[in-house]
Symmetry: C2
Subunit: 191 residues, 2 copies
DNA sequence: ACAAATCTACCTACTAAATGGTAGCCAAGA
DNA sequence: TCTTGGCTACCATTTAGTAGGTAGATTTGT
């Protein structure tokens, strides 16, 4: 079976996103996958290896999603809205964003993992900056905003909103934050 | 001396905000405060007791700050801006928000701690909602926004921005996010 | 006033359980 | 036969927490 590794990545992601990187152990993961603890080391010799694989897989999934949004949607604000809805899975499963969770533990994080999550955020910010610039150019995003700070603000708002949902509960909160965010970017009569 | 306890709270807060709740140990704290590990248990019998005291102290500090902002500033957006600048200490010291860090680890968190951080966020959102409503009433905040979702959005944006700074580095990012946020709330010609 | 009792704030020295990780064995499939 | 993917059995270290002691301050009884 090839997919013990995949299963390990799946369950490890759930554990990290729900409890933090230092909040889960190989023993927890072994329980979840129903394999002996030592066998995990066959697939991921060290916990750092596992973390790196987790970030790489997560990042790759977002790459696909970002491309799909750009290809399937043309309106600037609708693209941002679709980007925001990518976080909804986390809200519904009561899991944080993998990279946000890891970012919080930066003080204990192996350096290469830290580099990986920085790249993740940089990539998202660059994507959003482009989407916002294009939106301003075609009039779908209001002209008063600056693409670079606003791109950062979009990521910050969504990451923060996801974080809040974990303690405040009820995805209504996330959705209303997302629409408040989109409203602030839309060109139109309001404002 | 009464302030071993205070020193413990101070150093524990730095450890939690930098490395997460499960990312620090009584041994780390003992090193930082230069007392023996077992002595910490005299002041805080369990790690949960310590976490609760940490949240209570943090929450109390914010209470003072929120009152001071409402007392000293009348303009709605200026109040939000001042609120945002409360996070700057964290940005400069490279520490996350205590409650955000704990929120990430909710899966392993003792339940009473979780209740405490939920109360923290609820309080901030309620405070912001009131500030926004008053701002709309006196014209300092633009009328198009809804106070409740926008209050949530403000907390989310700032928490997210602080989180991002920890991996992206340089407080310029946080400041620009804060001004983008304030711009989106200001009543005026733009939009 | 003064001695006995109690309290404060720390200590050394432990413990059981959990941590990430290693060594070496074994069954099945190419 | 050799690789794959598990296994048992260990390891040193670290974890939160406990037991019990002690020097010094404070309170109390006479």
């Amino acid at each position: 079976m090839r997919d013990t590794r995949t299963e390990l990545l799946l369950q490890a992601e759930i554990l990290v996103r729900g409890r933090g990187y230092s909040g889960f152990s190989y023993a927890d993961l072994a329980d979840a996958v129903k394999i002996r603890k030592a066998s995990i080391h066959y697939h991921f010799p060290t916990k750092t290896d596992l973390a790196l694989a987790l970030v790489a897989a997560y990042d790759a999934r977002y790459d696909v999603a970002l491309d799909a949004i750009r290809a399937g949607i043309t309106d600037g604000v609708a693209r941002i809205d679709a980007y925001g809805r990518l976080y909804l899975g986390g809200v519904e499963d009561d899991l944080g964003c993998l990279c946000a969770v890891l970012a919080v533990e930066r003080g204990t994080l192996p350096e290469p993992v830290c580099t990986g999550i920085a790249a993740f955020f940089d990539k998202h910010i660059a994507w959003l900056e482009r989407v916002l610039s294009e939106g301003i150019a075609d009039g779908s995003v209001r002209g008063g905003i600056l693409p670079s700070p606003s791109a950062r603000m979009v990521v910050a708002t969504l990451e923060g909103a996801l974080l809040l949902e974990r303690v405040l509960a009820g995805s209504a909160g996330f959705r209303s934050t997302l629409s408040a965010l989109c409203d602030s970017l839309r060109s139109g009569p309001a404002g």
